[in-house]
Subunit: 340 residues, 2 copies
């Protein structure tokens, strides 16, 4: 049945220790021996037994650090649930977690979070703010032998091990498709996002506009505004936008501030025959879906993102093998009133 190190050792006429050294690149092996072991291992299609690896790894003391710009953003509640569930599922091993959160897009706060745990962790999972300083800090960790993965937001230029998150462009395309189905492809649209700098939001808007151009000539984007992901600000800018453009009958909201924007629509008495499409499944959004103002919200499986991140990182630490895919892309889920 299963091919084991023991079997390989017997066939090669060496000890298990030597096979282990070869298979895990620990050095101190004669070249010929190494080649022979590798050949036989490949021939027998050896795959290590994770159960045994996990069991044996139990003496190590793994601590995974988790850094998130979570404060004031309900999206991360679910992500963290997935993280803690993963910790439970990996209870056989007994990993520790250190979770550090900061507010919004405060670069310095995130850097401080990283530094405060850097010497305590075996690995880091981070939702990075798109800033060169953060990228440099990540790269430095990696050079010091601490593997880093990104979650929810990627920094493609960095040396991070892997990314777990959504395809923002496709999310924008899906949002556009939904709005088209609902409106029959005819709408005057206002767009909101956090700022012009948030990479994910930019891609969501680009995806949206791409589908507009290709398939829906009667979609008119009349105005943009930025909310800084703040509810109050969202309320204000939406009010101004709607006053200025009385033809607008649909909002596409790429970031948070959804609840504030919806309240503005209602405050102006424009919520009849008005459609809102947004992202994420947070309490304020659920309320507005039940009210019927938001017709659909696109979700990126925050629970799965948190859960998979921890599992992948654990596997890497135990097995030393990177996940085959450098990116684990979660689905864009459409939620409406009936399946919210």
């Amino acid at each position: 049945m299963g091919v084991t190190i023991k079997k390989i050792a017997e066939l090669c006429g060496v000890s298990r220790g030597t096979v282990d050294r070869v298979l895990n690149n620990r050095g101190n092996v004669k070249k010929e021996t190494e080649e022979k072991v590798l050949r036989i291992a490949k021939q027998l299609n050896y795959t290590p037994n994770m159960a045994a690896k996990t069991l044996a790894a139990r003496r190590k003391n793994i601590t995974i650090g988790i850094v998130l710009p979570a404060e004031g953003n309900d999206f991360f509640d679910d992500l963290l649930k997935g993280v803690y569930q993963a910790q439970k599922e990996l209870g056989d091993y007994g990993i520790s977690l250190i979770v550090k959160t900061s507010k919004g897009y405060d670069v310095e706060a995130q850097l401080e979070n990283i530094d405060s745990i850097a010497d305590k962790i075996s690995a880091l999972i981070i939702d990075p703010i798109s800033d060169i300083k953060v990228e440099q800090r990540i790269n430095r960790l990696i050079e010091n032998g601490i593997p880093v993965s990104t979650v929810n937001t990627d920094i493609e230029g960095s040396k991070r091990l892997f990314y777990v998150g959504s395809n923002y462009t496709k999310g924008g395309e899906t949002a556009c498709g939904m709005l088209a189905l609902i409106t029959g492809g005819k709408a005057n649209i206002g767009i909101l996002s956090a700022s012009g700098k948030h990479g994910g939001h930019i891609r969501r808007i680009n995806g949206f506009k791409k589908v507009c151009q290709e398939k829906y000539p009667d979609f008119n984007v009349l105005a943009y505004a930025t909310t800084n992901d703040d509810e109050i600000q969202a309320y204000e800018v939406t009010k101004n936008m709607l006053r200025e453009h009385t033809e607008i009958d649909a909002l596409y909201i790429a970031g948070s501030g959804v609840y504030g924007a919806c309240r503005a629509v209602i405050a102006l008495g424009r919520d009849k025959n008005f459609n809102v499409i947004c992202f994420d499944r947070v309490p304020g959004t659920i309320e507005m879906i039940e009210k019927g103002l938001i017709k659909a919200t696109i979700c990126q499986q925050p629970y799965t993102q948190g859960n998979r991140s921890v599992h992948f990182m654990f596997n890497y630490l135990v097995s030393g093998a990177k996940p085959e895919k450098i990116q684990y892309i979660v689905k864009n889920e459409i939620r409406i009133a009936e399946n919210i």
Copy 2:
């Protein structure tokens, strides 16, 4: 850190063997000893280490049987992918699978499938045809000590260990919600299903009608027809239905036969301003979504169903513990052209 049998044994002043006997109800233990061990174990919140269990269980020879009415139904392709992926993921253990498929709703064929593997398997995963004979056969297996779980379709009255599948009622509600968003809550609807006997389809239709009544007074269901999940038959009955009811401008298809029905709509030249909502993501459906006739399809994560079923059953066989939840309900996913 982790609480182990060894630790409990030390604290109780007994041997590891005795603790094992208590924790696994193997008998032959003095009452007082048993109570003490149980008390300490609970106190320390002992949870067995799955990695160790899996490793130790490797000498057993587990074979899981899988019986599906899969022939002629592409839905099961993805379900089986999930099954085989689970086998890979559990490769450390080396379980064997025996997959048996039959066609449509052929009760005798399914019974034969069960019988042909009954003496070779340690457990059975089955998508059961709703028939008293199948239920009885399942119950008999269980009485003979072979655990059985249901997938995709449940038999609630039976003694099956657990169910992995969708909430059909909610699927129907979601379908209705989507159709309402697309049509503005105004449509003349024809409904198709496999037969009046398929429990899942009945619930999908009931869920749909419930939402109709509660929220969409301008949804008129004008006709029903049955397709026997056959494309040719679907084509014919749809043609007849549409000829008879020229006002129909939407189809709600609870089962398969989707492609045939769509071809009928096109053959009659009715595909302009016509909306189809259906279930599952199979090649014919994808084609019709791209054509724009089907506006949305509701998916029940077939891959996940297959994958989880095998994992749960494996866990049960190894640990002897039932999953906490008797039902693992997958999500109803909405797919449209942009996220198909």
